[in-house]
């Protein structure tokens, strides 16, 4: 069979992830220290696991309603209000298979062929391909290190056209660790007010915002809730990646269409995970805080050590990633990562895996123990000293 003729050219045209290639290579090498993983090293808090086990013991092995258990959706509303002062009604919430499904459903519900989607780069690897599959055109907004990888109003204005349908707002940002504080969001909101541009605000790392100010959602700025699809989930803050559970909140007319996509494509999110998630939201604020404290200690340790060895980062106030500047090495991101892997057996991810705007940077994850990070830093320091000679 000639598969080239049979397969969807849109997906065929998507490049395989740049991170994949590195991990494949690293997995064949011995003694590699990996700082590449994009998920917590903590286990799901026991009380959450126990709730999942109990739901199985009680035989709760049925589908839930398409939009998710009503108790969970109620709990999501209480949680968002308690933690971030975000207000949604239960029928504005849909439980999804991870935040990822919410992103997909959002894009397919709002995008039409010819629409433009503004995506800030360096970008999490899924947004572009999802937008392409929905038939839309991706308009990159290349954020800059000197702006700490935040979007500025000027940059946004420069890429808006009459075809702009959706702005992806991925803060706190994977891969850069950048955070948009209230004043930065206000600038963006000012550009959007009076337009019909929608916002998909991916706030999966909201709990992992450091410093004295908590995460602020664009939903809370005047005129923004009506145009925003909020994506969140349990993977990062509650260390529940493998449970595959997230949620989307949006104005009812948008959510109803997303729900159709979810209903036909997925049916309902995993029931065991939903019961566990009720406990995650109602009983685990302390556990979330403890994990955040540990990440913050590692972040400060890592950023300070990286600065010392000549790989500074820029206000990485969120997530569990640092986007380190490797330009002092004189190498490209790919060269740097390949040589670091072959010569020192340390795996970090080239910034270019997140788009061309990531050139000159590498993404380093700190969802590892201090010991592990310290071992990798010793090798990276040797490497930097050698390449700078």
């Amino acid at each position: 069979m000639n598969y080239d003729k049979l397969l969807n050219p849109v997906i065929v045209a998507e490049k395989p992830s740049g991170i994949r290639r590195f991990f494949d290579l690293a997995s064949t090498m011995k003694d590699c220290i990996v700082l590449g993983v994009g998920e917590p090293d903590f286990k799901t808090p026991w009380v959450i696991r126990e709730a999942g086990i109990t739901s199985l013991e009680k035989g709760r092995t049925f589908y839930t309603s398409n939009s998710g258990l009503i108790q969970l959706r109620d709990e999501i509303c209480r949680y968002l209000r308690r933690r971030f002062d975000i207000r949604y009604e239960t029928d504005e919430v849909m439980v999804t298979v991870g935040g990822s499904e919410g992103i997909d459903a959002c894009m397919r519900a709002v995008l039409c062929p010819g629409d433009e989607v503004i995506i800030p780069y360096p970008s999490y690897v899924s947004y572009g391909p999802m937008a392409h599959l929905a038939g839309a055109t991706v308009v990159p907004l290349n954020t800059k290190a000197e702006n700490s990888f935040r979007i500025t109003a000027e940059e946004l204005k420069a890429v808006i056209t009459p075809k702009t349908k959706l702005l992806v707002l991925p803060y706190p940002s994977n891969p850069t660790g950048a955070v948009m504080r209230r004043e930065h969001l206000e600038e963006i909101a000012e550009v959007l007010r009076g337009t019909d541009i929608l916002v998909m605000s991916d706030e999966i790392y909201a709990e992992l915002t450091y410093g004295s100010e908590r995460h602020v959602s664009i939903v809370n700025l005047e005129g923004m809730k009506e145009r925003t699809i909020l994506i969140n989930g349990f993977s990062k803050a509650h260390a529940m990646t493998g449970w595959r559970l997230g949620y989307a909140c949006a104005p009812k007319p948008i959510l109803q269409q997303m729900l159709k996509i979810h209903q036909y494509g997925i049916m309902s999110a995993p029931t065991t995970s939903q019961y566990a998630a009720i406990v995650a939201l109602s009983q685990c604020d302390d556990a979330v805080e403890e994990m955040r404290t540990q990440y913050d200690l590692r972040r400060k340790f890592l950023t300070s050590e990286l600065r010392r060895i000549g790989m500074p980062s820029y206000d990485a106030d969120g997530t569990f990633y640092v986007f380190a500047d490797i330009r002092a090495s004189g190498l490209s991101s790919e060269e740097f990562c390949e040589r670091l892997m072959y010569e020192k057996r340390v795996v970090v991810v080239p910034g270019t895996a997140f788009g061309d705007a990531g050139e000159g940077f590498v993404r380093i994850s700190y969802s590892y123990s201090i010991d592990h990070i310290q071992q990798a830093l010793r090798r990276m320091e040797e490497f930097m000293n050698e390449v700078k000679k």
């Binding site: 994949r20 494949d24 990996v34 993983v37 998920e39 090293d41 690897v125 200690l297 300070s304 050590e305």
Partner: protein
């Protein structure tokens, strides 16, 4: 101060400069706080956790429970100090339950421990009874697992 203590409790090899970055203080402040904690007896010392079973079979441990008569005015202090002064004794703890003191002993053989209990602990005036529990295998010591830790099984994903 508590933040610094909780960091060095598990990471004693970090430098004051590294700790300073983690707690938003200067290196000198961290040095001063650690010195103060040493002076005040808050930091008692630093030790390395070694799994001696992996090095030789010449190391055995026992947990000895002692039932003792407390002395008027001094309670359990006197007998606890007497027991603690024996070089083979690693730890002495006052406990609730059927016995009063829990004594951890390290020696070269089970025989040596048995002799120590029979000849030096049991004959003490205030000791009314002993119960010897030989340690067969430690699984976790001072918060550190002594068994093979779970491997990092996280998938290599394009996240």
């Amino acid at each position: 101060m508590e933040k610094i203590l909780s960091i060095i409790e598990t990471q004693p090899l970090l430098t004051p400069g590294q700790i300073a970055a983690m707690v938003d203080r200067t290196e000198q402040e961290v040095v001063d706080i650690i010195e103060k904690c040493k002076r005040e007896g808050i930091i008692k010392g630093y030790r390395t956790l070694i799994d001696w079973d992996k090095v030789s079979t010449n190391h055995v441990k026992a947990l000895i429970e002692l039932r003792v008569s407390p002395k008027k005015g001094r309670g359990f202090e006197e007998i606890a100090q007497t027991v603690a002064s024996m070089p083979e004794v690693e730890a002495v703890t006052l406990i609730s339950g059927g016995y009063d003191l829990l004594v951890e002993i390290k020696a070269k053989s089970f025989q040596e421990i048995a002799m120590l209990v029979a000849k030096r602990l049991s004959p003490l005036d205030d000791v009314n009874g002993t119960k010897t529990n030989f340690v067969l295998r430690p699984y976790k010591v001072s918060g550190v697992p002594f068994i093979e830790e779970d491997k990092d099984e996280r998938g290599f994903n394009f996240l």
